[in-house]
Assembly symmetry: C4
Homo-oligomer: 236 residues x 4
Amino acid sequence: MSHYFDLFIMVMICLSVIDIILESEESLKVEYSSWFQFFEFFSVLVFSIEYALRVWTCVEHRKYNSSLFGRIKYMSNPMALVDLIAILPFYLPFVGIDLRFIRILRLFRIFRVLKMARYSSAFNLIKNVFKEKKEELLVTSVFIVIILIIISTLMYYLEREAQPDHFSSISKSLWWGIVTLTTVGYGDVYPVTALGKALGGIITLLSIGLIALPSGILASGYTEQIIMRKEKKKKN
Amino acid sequence: MSHYFDLFIMVMICLSVIDIILESEESLKVEYSSWFQFFEFFSVLVFSIEYALRVWTCVEHRKYNSSLFGRIKYMSNPMALVDLIAILPFYLPFVGIDLRFIRILRLFRIFRVLKMARYSSAFNLIKNVFKEKKEELLVTSVFIVIILIIISTLMYYLEREAQPDHFSSISKSLWWGIVTLTTVGYGDVYPVTALGKALGGIITLLSIGLIALPSGILASGYTEQIIMRKEKKKKN
Amino acid sequence: MSHYFDLFIMVMICLSVIDIILESEESLKVEYSSWFQFFEFFSVLVFSIEYALRVWTCVEHRKYNSSLFGRIKYMSNPMALVDLIAILPFYLPFVGIDLRFIRILRLFRIFRVLKMARYSSAFNLIKNVFKEKKEELLVTSVFIVIILIIISTLMYYLEREAQPDHFSSISKSLWWGIVTLTTVGYGDVYPVTALGKALGGIITLLSIGLIALPSGILASGYTEQIIMRKEKKKKN
Amino acid sequence: MSHYFDLFIMVMICLSVIDIILESEESLKVEYSSWFQFFEFFSVLVFSIEYALRVWTCVEHRKYNSSLFGRIKYMSNPMALVDLIAILPFYLPFVGIDLRFIRILRLFRIFRVLKMARYSSAFNLIKNVFKEKKEELLVTSVFIVIILIIISTLMYYLEREAQPDHFSSISKSLWWGIVTLTTVGYGDVYPVTALGKALGGIITLLSIGLIALPSGILASGYTEQIIMRKEKKKKN
């Protein structure tokens, strides 16, 4: 019974995401406006009932074992807050808040997708890898940001005279740095002076190793998790 | 004997792929049209005989051990269906079906290349890695898709006013998201507003780690396969 | 006590980096010029005091155990030199050196960020990976540079007639080579001739494996470090 | 003694590469033409003497233990042939062959760089990784090429009407495929139709895993080599 309910909610979450994506298409929005309104109404109804049920039954869980404070504690955990924010925009118009603001808030409905994580244990492996490697990822992130700032500042001084539009400030040069270091390379900004190209080229070549570090950390973290799971299985 | 037949079929498959690639070249198609027609005729003949022989002899295999149902069972496995679709377009014109439709169907002839997999055991390693890591790859794929949708929706709200052409809907914004997350970065769409660049830059930097996850999974899966093979060799 | 002082210096370093980034924004520089001047004065004061204190107290360390030569030895280590260069530009104008030159020298203030490394032990892991894999990284770097030069020279001969602007010399062709091998792909330079595209495409496909080598080296180096740390923990 | 000779040759090889790069710069070529001519003469002299000495002394090696056939055998090994081709263009003009052709042949002088491999043992690790993983790399390469052809053919049928310039034939579509799969993404060719973008996006996302395979193979191959070397050290 509970399993079918979870499945139904997951399907509803997916449908509401597709609803948001399709509604952003101007032509579809005009043509099927009544359909979108109906689905909006229906999905908010379902998610409201789900939210009410979850708040009602949470006291059965040992963690929220108090009729009032247990419920408040449950309601203030991040996932429950996302649930609330996902249905709130529908009720807010009656309160009289600016509509444009709500429209942007509705963006958070996308976060409903993340709720899927609650329904599936498959999510745990990735979560563990990131949890286990938290510190190492932070250190490399800081290192990458430092390199990013140094490279971008260098490039700012080398290119600002040749390209006053794209390298008018270090923050603009940082955009070049991020696009280059992540190897995205849109091609909207790139060095044009000989010195900029020379230094940019050498620095980029060297930095590729840096960007490879987080991948290496995640890969090794993944292998560790797999080995740990296998060892646990052997013991059981 | 069987070995030479397999080799001959593999060469024919490669030749027919080259034939499709060359035939798409307008100038070559006009100049050597008779050659293309001859090869088309010859290759269909070879593949028809091969298909007939395979259907005829499949009953010798224990799996298809019935003169009628065994053959039907063989014919309905995916690879045999690809074989059939590869030769069918040649016989279909006589039935009177729209020619343009067939032309696009002929595209499936490319799948003949995949048949090579049947002739070579080298294919197995990759297949095993993907098979073994099926679930993990699925989870990370779902996670990447979720992040992709969230990023693209964010970018849609930030850029749609500045670039109504490129960010007119979330589905268009998804194109930006895919091109950026895979670090392809064509440069046809990119954020132009300061807020779009700031958030885009930060999100992109963070997401690089996500894209690294499947690589890490495949790499660790590959290492696992290599270790398993070595252990098997030791035991024998 | 010492801990709070280190934290204060780290915050000051971060603030001075943000100061440089914001000051490069023309509009901000004009509007808040007095604030920038004040912060410049304050930060140089703090870093001057810090530098003086460090030079004064360094003799307590066994390594610099002589009142004069110990201090000179300390002052000539790279990190201390960076500290000196970071504060020197402020005092130099009184000596009468060209201001523009100093402005570019101020760029080195960014290196203050690297000093953070001294305050945090988290930096060590990355340092060890690069230290341990120094030789392997050098060999692959040399190999990548060789491949880069060969590819770029080939492309120069294939494209210089079709694109005299972008491939007028091998050094210009090297820019294409770096942008392609690192998979950045800005799109400012790319082969246009059929032969250039054919060879460029094949070579690029083959070279992807080369670029993957340093990532592999760093990843395996990282795994090694993690294993070594765990083994050390077990022994203790 | 022999060590200094090897070092001298290595420096000469590097200098001759720099010479080629600088000579391609039109302005430099005109201004310092006499210098380039002198260095050309000097380097060919050195490499001619080196080649003569190597051919002369090769008989001392057991492998080439015959005064005539041993030398012919040595001269026909790939590296010795590269040596010969590197100096031949200088002597050929006197024979009266087309100069432009020689100019392009001179490109092979770049291969002198590869000779460095002979002087350094550091090259061996990479060579072993590629040697050990030869078969796996071949299989994944074939798989990538198959996927590449299928994707490019699909894109050709989807985009040829919307972009007759960029997708006029499958071979042109292959250029898009290579640039996308390697995540270079110059931005000269990309799908513009909704269907092309949808399928292109999905396929690209899926293919990223494929491109990650060779990296994974090389990374695991590298780790294997490191482990093997350590085990050998332990035994000794």
